[in-house]
C-alpha cells in the first residue's frame, strides 16, 4: 500500500488515523500471507516434504530439467522417456508458467548461495503463491467494495478448502500459480476499468500473459472479460475507461498468448477465443457510435444510426456466416473436448471416455460444495445483493464472475477452484457490509445521544482492530481522499457517486442495539465455524500426498509406502533403457521417480496409444504379450489394492481400460466383461474377465496369502484362484502388494530341430498375419 498524504491541513488527525489504518492493513495482510502459507504446511508436518500425486511429478521433472539444462534446452526438449516410441515435445506442449516460476525462484536462491534443492522449491511454490493470491484478492475486492471487504475476502481466500486442496505444500501443479494469476488479472482489469489508465491496461495484458503461460484455464478470463464488456455495453455503461480496459487486453494479450508455444496460433484459431474478437469488434462499433454522437447533432445522429445499423447488420451477418462456416468445417466445431464438455456436461461421457475417466472431470455433488466452500455458499447471495447496492462497473464484474463460475463448477468438479475466489470475494463483501451495518448501528446507538451523525461517521472511519470489521465506507473515503502520487485524478470520479449514496443510506440502516450485538455474535460464530472447517480440511482431507498412504490402527500409525518402494526398485534394479508399461495414471510417476521409459502417461494426448495399452490389459495373456512385445516393453506394472483394501487400484479402473481400448479396437467389447451390467471378479465373473491380463497380473498367487483369495476392495472372493502365467513372470511385488511388476518372458526358443523350427516358423507367421487386425503395432 502506498503511503498517505493529507490533502487538507485541517484533517491532520483524520490523516493520522488513515495512516494508522494503512499500517494496520499492511500488518493484517502480512498475517494473512503467513496464514495462507502456514495452513498449507500440514502435509509437510504430517507426512514429509515431498511432491504429491501425479501431475506434480511431471512438473517437478520438467523443473529439474530446466534447472539443469537452461531455458533454451527446455524449449527444445524432446522427451524420449515417455510415449514410447513416439516421444513427446515437452517444450511445445506444456504450460511453462509454473515451471519457469519455480525455476526462476530456484535460480535466484542459488545465485545467492542458498542451496535449496529443486524439490524443496517445488514443494513450497504453491503455499507461497497462495499468499500472493490472497493479497491479489485483497486488491481486487478493495477495488470493488473497499479495503474492509478486501481484507475479509483475503482472509477467506487464504483458507478456502477448495483452493487448499490444490495448493498444499507439495501440490506442485499449474493451478498453484494460476489462481494467483487469475485473480491478479481480474484485479488489473478492474483497476484499469476504475482508473482508465493505460499503464494498468498494459500490466493487465502482462498478467494475462502470465496466466496463459500457467494454465489452460486462461480461456475463462478471455471469455469472462468480453462477457462483462458486453454486459456493460448492453446496460448502457459504456465509457472510455471500458474501452481502455478491454481493447489493449485483447490486442496485447492475444499477441502475447501466441508467444506461448503450447497456445501458438490457437490464440486466434480456436472457438474459445472468438468471443473476445467479436466483442472487440462490437466495442469499436460502440465507441464509434459514441464518438459520432458527440460530434453530430441529435437529428443527424438519428440518420447516421439508421445508416450504420443497416450496413452493420449486413457486415455482421457476413462475418457471422463466415465464422459459422469456419467452425462447422472443423470436426469438433473448433472446440476442444474439455471445453465442449463445459458447455454440454454430458458431452464427455458420451464421446470421450478418456476425459470422463478422470474423477476430477466429473460433475460435483452437493456435499462437495459444502466441503469445498463451506459457509461461503450461504454468504454468496448476501454478497451479490451487496454488489447491487449500488451496482458499479466493478461490482457487476464480480457478480458476472460468480455466476459464470457457479455454472462451470457445476459441470466439472475441478473448476470448483475457479469458483472459490469468486465465492471468497462475494462473502468478503457480504461480511464486511454486515459488520459495517452492525458496528455502525451499535456505535450510533451508544454514542447517538452525545454525537451528531457526522461524528458517528467520523468515528466509523477510525480503524478497528478487528480485521474483518474494516469499514467499506472508510475504504471508499480513503480511495476518495488519496491523491495518488502519480496524479491520477480520475480515480476520484467513480468513487464519488457510491460514497454519497452510502452516506444517505447510512442513516436508514440503523438497527436496534440488541439485534446488532446478537447478529455480530452470530456472524463471528459463522466465521469461527468456517475457520474450524478449513483447518480440518487442510489437516485431514487435503494433505495426503497420495504416494504414501497411512492408516491409523490400534497399534499406531501404519505407513504404506509401496509406490516409492517399487519405483525405487525399478530405478535401481532394471536397465536404464527398459520400457515399463502401466496404465497411464502412473506414467508421470514412473518417469520422474523410477527414471524409466513409459508407454503412456497422464498427458493423455494420444488416445490410440492409451487404447493400445488398455487393449493389452484387457486381452488374454498371449495377445497382451504380443502387443507389449511389439512396443518393446520389458516390464508391466500393475497396482493392486486387494490385499490391504486400497480402492483406487487398477481393477477398479479396469472399466476405463476396456472402454478406451474398445473405443479404438472394436474386438474389445465391454459386454464381454460385464455380468448383469457390472464388472465382477468373483465366481460370477465372465471368462473373458478371468482370462484378461489385468485380472491375472493382479491376482497371480494372491490366493496363497490367505488361502481363499479374499479381495478387500471388492469384498468378495476372487473367481479364479489358481492359475499360472505363461508369458509373464513376477519380478517384484511391494510389501503390501500394492504394486506388482512383471517381466515379459523372452520369446520361446524355436531351435528344436530343423523340422520343428520350420513348422513353428510357419505357424507363427500365420498367427501374426491373423492378429494383424488386433494389434496395430505388428
Amino acid at each position: 500500500m502506498a503511503a498517505l498524504e493529507s490533502p487538507q491541513p485541517a484533517a491532520t488527525t483524520t490523516a493520522m488515523r488513515h495512516a494508522f489504518g494503512n499500517v494496520l492493513s499492511v500488518l493484517i495482510l502480512v498475517l494473512i500471507g503467513v496464514l495462507a502459507f502456514s495452513i498449507r504446511l500440514f502435509s509437510v508436518i504430517k507426512y514429509e516434504s515431498v511432491i504429491h500425486e501425479f501431475d506434480p511429478y511431471f512438473n517437478y521433472r520438467v523443473t529439474q530439467f530446466l534447472s539443469k539444462n537452461g531455458i533454451y534446452e527446455f524449449w527444445n526438449w524432446f522427451d524420449d522417456r515417455t510415449w514410447y516410441p513416439l516421444g513427446r515435445v515437452i517444450g511445445g506442449t506444456v504450460y511453462p508458467g509454473l515451471t519457469l516460476t519455480a525455476g526462476t525462484i530456484w535460480w535466484v536462491l542459488n545465485s545467492l548461495n542458498i542451496p535449496l534443492s529443486v524439490e524443496t522449491v517445488c514443494v513450497f511454490t504453491a503455499p507461497v503463491f497462495s499468499a500472493f493470491a490472497s493479497w491479489a484478492t485483497y486488491l481486487l475486492t478493495k477495488e470493488v467494495k473497499g479495503s474492509g471487504a478486501g481484507l475479509a475476502a483475503a482472509v477467506l481466500l487464504a483458507m478456502v478448502p477448495s483452493y487448499i486442496s490444490r495448493s498444499v505444500a507439495g501440490s506442485y501443479d499449474n493451478e498453484a500459480v494460476a489462481i494467483f494469476a487469475l485473480i491478479f488479472t481480474f484485479y488489473l482489469y478492474i483497476k484499469t476499468l476504475n482508473t482508465g489508465s493505460l499503464f494498468y491496461a498494459t500490466l493487465n495484458a502482462l498478467a494475462y500473459f502470465y496466466m496463459v503461460c500457467s494454465w489452460g484455464g486462461y480461456t475463462f478470463i478471455i471469455n469472462l472479460i468480453p462477457m462483462h464488456v458486453l454486459l456493460c455495453i448492453v446496460t448502457g455503461r459504456y465509457s472510455p475507461r471500458l474501452y481502455i480496459a478491454y481493447a489493449p487486453l485483447v490486442v496485447l494479450g492475444t499477441l502475447l498468448a501466441a508467444l506461448v508455444p503450447v497456445v501458438g496460433f490457437n490464440a486466434v484459431l480456436t472457438s474459445e477465443h472468438f468471443a473476445s474478437f467479436l466483442v472487440f469488434i462490437i466495442i469499436h462499433v460502440v465507441a464509434l457510435v459514441y464518438y459520432i454522437k458527440g460530434i453530430l447533432t441529435p437529428k443527424m445522429f438519428k440518420v447516421a444510426v439508421t445508416l450504420v445499423v443497416s450496413i452493420g447488420m449486413v457486415v455482421c451477418f457476413i462475418v457471422v456466416a463466415i465464422l459459422v462456416a469456419l467452425v462447422a468445417s472443423s470436426p469438433t466445431g473448433g472446440w476442444s473436448g474439455r471445453s465442449l464438455s463445459l458447455l454440454d456436461p454430458t458431452y464427455a461421457s458420451k464421446y470421450i471416455p478418456i476425459i470422463a475417466s478422470v474423477s476430477e472431470h466429473q460433475p460435483p455433488t452437493w456435499p462437495s460444495y459444502f466441503m469445498d466452500i463451506n459457509v461461503l455458499a450461504f454468504l454468496v447471495p448476501a454478497g451479490i445483493i451487496a454488489c447491487f447496492s449500488p451496482l458499479s462497473d466493478s461490482s457487476s464484474f464480480v457478480v458476472l464472475y460468480i455466476v459464470m463460475s457457479v455454472y462451470f463448477s457445476g459441470v466439472m468438479v475441478r473448476l470448483m477452484l475457479v469458483l472459490a475466489p469468486a465465492a471468497c470475494i462475494m462473502s468478503g463483501i457480504a461480511l464486511s457490509q454486515a459488520f459495517d451495518v452492525f458496528t455502525g448501528s451499535i456505535k450510533y446507538q451508544l454514542g447517538g445521544s452525545s454525537n451528531s451523525t457526522d461524528n458517528a461517521e467520523d468515528t466509523n472511519n477510525a480503524p478497528k482492530d478487528d480485521a474483518s470489521a474494516g469499514k467499506t465506507d472508510k475504504g471508499e473515503e480513503i480511495v476518495k481522499e488519496r491523491s495518488s502520487k502519480k496524479g491520477k485524478k480520475k480515480e476520484r470520479e467513480p468513487a464519488d457517486k457510491p460514497s454519497v449514496k452510502s452516506k444517505a443510506k447510512k442513516k436508514a440502516l440503523v438497527l436496534p442495539l440488541e439485534t446488532s450485538i446478537v447478529a455480530l455474535l452470530l456472524l463471528i460464530m459463522l466465521g469461527a465455524f468456517y475457520v474450524i472447517h478449513c483447518v480440518w480440511a487442510a489437516a485431514e482431507a487435503y494433505s495426503a500426498p497420495s504416494i504414501v498412504l497411512t492408516s491409523q490402527s490400534r497399534d499406531g500409525l501404519h505407513v504404506f509406502d509401496d509406490f516409492r518402494e517399487s519405483y525405487a526398485w525399478l530405478s535401481h534394479n532394471t536397465d536404464v533403457d527398459d520400457k515399463v508399461a502401466s496404465w497411464w495414471d502412473y506414467g508421470y510417476q514412473t518417469t520422474a521417480m523410477a527414471n524409466r521409459t513409459v508407454i503412456v502417461d497422464n498427458n493423455t494426448w494420444n488416445n490410440t496409444h492409451i487404447a493400445t495399452v488398455g487393449t493389452a490389459m484387457s486381452s488374454p495373456e498371449k495377445a497382451a504379450w504380443e502387443i507389449f512385445n511389439s512396443l518393446d516393453v520389458k516390464y508391466v506394472l500393475v497396482v493392486f489394492g486387494g490385499l490391504i483394501g486400497y480402492p483406487s487400484d487398477d481393477i477398479n479402473k479396469f472399466l476405463w481400460m476396456v472402454r478406451i481400448g474398445g473405443g479404438v479396437f472394436p474386438h474389445i467389447k465391454e459386454a464381454d466383461y460385464l455380468r448383469d451390467g457390472q464388472y465382477r471378479i468373483d465366481s460370477e465373473a465372465t471368462p473373458t474377465m478371468l482370462n484378461c491380463l489385468m485380472y491375472k497380473l493382479s491376482y497371480y498367487r494372491f490366493v496363497e496369502t490367505d488361502g481363499k483369495g479374499y479381495d478387500r476392495v471388492r469384498r468378495t472372493e476372487i473367481g479364479k484362484k489358481h492359475f499360472k502365467l505363461t508369458h509373464f513372470e513376477e519380478v517384484f511385488t511391494s510389501h503390501h502388494w500394492m504394486v506388482r511388476i512383471y517381466k515379459l518372458k523372452p520369446a520361446r526358443n524355436r531351435i528344436r530341430g530343423r523340422a520343428k523350427k520350420l513348422k513353428s516358423k510357419t505357424t507363427s507367421s500365420g498367427w501374426s498375419s491373423k492378429s494383424e487386425k488386433k494389434n496395430p503395432w505388428v
Binding site: A3, E48, V50, L112, N113, I114, P115, S483, K485, K486, G487, I547, V548, V559, D561, R564, E565, S566, Y567, A568, W569, H572, N573, M593, R701, E704, T705, E729, E730, V731, F732, T733, S734, H735, W737
Partner: protein, 464 residues
C-alpha cells in the same frame, strides 16, 4: 668417468640394500597359528607368529607376504607384539607398512612390520597379526533363485605364505555353518563342525604355497557399499551436521528369475536366505535430527535407539536386497559441536571424528569424507593413522561469499576396523561467525531505508 660413478652408485645401492633382505634369511618362524574367520563376507585372519632371529645381525623388521589376489583385496593389516607371559601379557601395536621387494616371486605383495626393538641374534618375539580381506568369497553358483541358499568359494593356501622358513604351523578355518560342500584336503586336514583344520605342517620352506578351495554355505548379508560420501559440516553455532550418501548393493550371488513376495513373506526361513533387509548403523551418542531418506523422499522403516556410548539406527532399505540388487539412500544427523571440536594447545582448532562407515559388517569400496570447515577458516590439515588421498575443495553454502574450505579424504576398500578417530586441524577467527547475520541485518536495513526514501521522495514532474 661418468660410467664409473654410475657403477659405483649401483654397487653402493646393492651394498646398502643387502641388510634389508639379508635379514629375510636370518629370521625364521618357529611356530605359526592362523585362524581364518569366514562367517561374514569380511574375511578376518588372525595370525600368531613366534619369530626367531637365527642370523648374526640384529633384525629390526620382518616381512609379511600375501599372494597377488589377496594383496588386491587386503583392507587392513595390524600387528601387535606380545610381551610378558600368560597373565601379564601386554600387547603393543607395531608399525606396519606396505612395501615392495625387488625379488618378489609371482607378484607377491609385502607388508613390513617394524619391531619395537631390534631382535638380537637368537632372540624370539611373539606377534599377533590381524589382516582383513574383502571381496574374497566368490559365489558359486554365480546366480541363485529365491529358494536357494548362497554357496561361496574361498581360495587360500593351506600353508602360510612367508618369505621365511616356517617350522611348524596350523591353520583353522571357521565357516558360518556346518554346511561345507567341499574343501581341498592337504594331509593332515580334517573338519569338525564349523571348523576345518589344516596342519600341523612341519618345516615348510620359504614361499611354500598349497592352494586350497573351500566351498561352503554363507548366508550372511553381503552388504557392500559401492560408494559412500560422508559430509561433515562444522558450524560454530553449535552443531555438526553429517550427511551420508550411500550406494548399497548386495555383493553375493546374483538373484535370478522370479521374486515372489508371497514366498518371501510366508516362508521366510527358506526363501531368500541370502537376502537382507535390515541394516544397523552405529551413530555417535547424543545424536539428534536423524533422517533417513532417498532421492524420492523419506523412508519410513527405521528405528533409532540413543544411548550414552553410542546410538543405533536400525533401518531397512525400501525393499529387501537380493544378490546384485542395489539401493541408494541418505542418512543425515546432527551432533553437538562440543563433543567433537576442540582447541589445540597452539590455538588451532581440531575436529576429532570417526573415520569409516557407520554400518556394521559392511565393506565400502570407495569412501569419501568431506569435512566442510566454516567460512573463513585457514590452514587445514588432516591427521589419520593410515594413508588416504587428500585434497581441498571449496563449497558455497548458505549466503557464503568466499566459500568454505572442504577437506576431502578418500580411501578405497574400507572395513569396520577403519572406524578410528581422525583429526582435522584448522585456524578460525570467531568474528567470521557474525558475517552472515550482519549481512542479513544490513539487507533488511537497506530495504527499510529504501522504502523510507521512496515514500518521502516526490518524483512528480508537475506540482499539484
Amino acid at each position: 668417468m661418468a660410467a664409473r660413478i654410475g657403477i659405483f652408485a649401483v654397487v653402493v645401492a646393492v651394498f646398502l640394500s643387502i641388510p634389508a633382505f639379508s635379514s629375510a634369511q636370518d629370521l625364521q618362524i618357529v611356530n605359526a597359528e592362523r585362524r581364518i574367520d569366514l562367517s561374514s563376507h569380511i574375511v578376518k585372519a588372525f595370525l600368531t607368529l613366534k619369530v626367531e632371529n637365527i642370523g648374526k645381525n640384529p633384525a629390526a623388521e620382518m616381512l609379511l607376504a600375501f599372494s597377488p589376489t589377496q594383496i588386491k583385496n587386503l583392507a587392513m593389516v595390524q600387528a601387535l607384539a606380545i610381551t610378558g607371559k600368560k597373565k601379564k601379557k601386554t600387547y603393543l601395536p607395531l608399525d606396519v607398512k606396505p612395501t615392495e621387494q625387488p625379488d618378489a616371486p609371482n607378484d607377491t605383495g609385502y607388508y613390513r612390520v617394524t619391531f619395537i626393538s631390534p631382535l638380537g641374534p637368537g632372540e624370539t618375539v611373539s606377534l599377533e597379526v590381524l589382516y582383513i580381506l574383502t571381496h574374497s568369497l566368490e559365489p558359486f553358483p554365480v546366480e541363485i533363485t529365491q529358494s536357494e541358499s548362497q554357496l561361496v568359494y574361498y581360495h587360500d593356501s593351506a600353508v602360510i605364505l612367508s618369505p621365511y622358513h616356517v617350522k611348524q604351523q596350523t591353520t583353522f578355518v571357521k565357516t558360518p555353518s556346518t554346511r561345507v560342500e567341499s574343501f581341498t584336503s592337504i594331509e593332515p586336514a580334517n573338519r569338525a563342525g564349523k571348523e576345518i583344520k589344516y596342519g600341523p605342517y612341519e618345516n615348510r620352506a620359504s614361499y611354500s604355497y598349497a592352494p586350497v578351495i573351500i566351498h561352503f554355505e554363507n548366508n550372511s548379508p553381503f552388504a557392500v557399499v559401492e560408494e559412500l560420501v560422508r559430509e561433515i559440516e562444522i558450524s560454530h553455532w553449535g552443531s555438526l551436521q553429517i550427511t551420508e550418501h550411500y550406494r548399497l548393493t548386495h555383493g553375493g550371488a546374483r538373484h535370478k528369475d522370479v521374486f515372489s513376495r508371497v514366498d518371501y513373506q510366508s516362508k521366510r526361513s527358506v526363501s531368500g536366505a541370502s537376502s537382507f533387509n535390515a541394516l544397523l548403523a552405529v551413530l555417535p551418542p547424543r545424536v539428534n535430527s536423524v533422517y533417513y531418506r532417498d532421492d524420492i523422499g523419506n523412508i519410513s522403516t527405521s528405528h533409532l535407539r540413543t544411548g550414552f556410548r553410542k546410538s543405533e539406527l536400525e533401518f531397512e532399505p525400501r525393499y529387501p536386497l537380493f544378490g546384485g540388487w542395489r539401493a541408494t539412500f541418505i542418512i543425515g544427523y546432527r551432533v553437538p559441536l562440543e563433543d567433537y571440536l576442540f582447541e589445540a594447545s597452539d590455538g588451532r582448532r581440531y575436529l576429532n571424528f570417526t573415520f569409516g562407515c557407520p554400518l556394521v559388517e559392511t565393506i565400502v569400496n570407495k569412501l569419501t569424507i568431506k569435512v566442510v570447515l566454516p567460512e573463513g577458516s585457514k590452514d587445514p590439515s588432516a591427521v589419520l593413522p593410515f594413508t588416504v588421498n587428500q585434497e581441498l575443495q571449496v563449497k558455497y553454502s548458505y549466503l557464503d561469499i568466499v566459500g568454505r574450505t572442504v577437506v576431502v579424504l578418500q580411501k578405497d576398500n574400507v572395513v569396520p576396523t577403519h572406524n578410528v578417530p581422525f583429526q582435522v586441524y584448522y585456524t578460525f577467527k570467531p568474528i567470521y561467525m557474525l558475517a552472515e547475520p550482519f549481512m542479513l541485518v544490513s539487507a533488511f536495513f537497506f530495504v527499510f531505508v529504501a522504502s523510507l526514501a521512496y515514500v518521502h521522495i516526490d518524483l512528480n514532474i508537475a506540482r499539484k
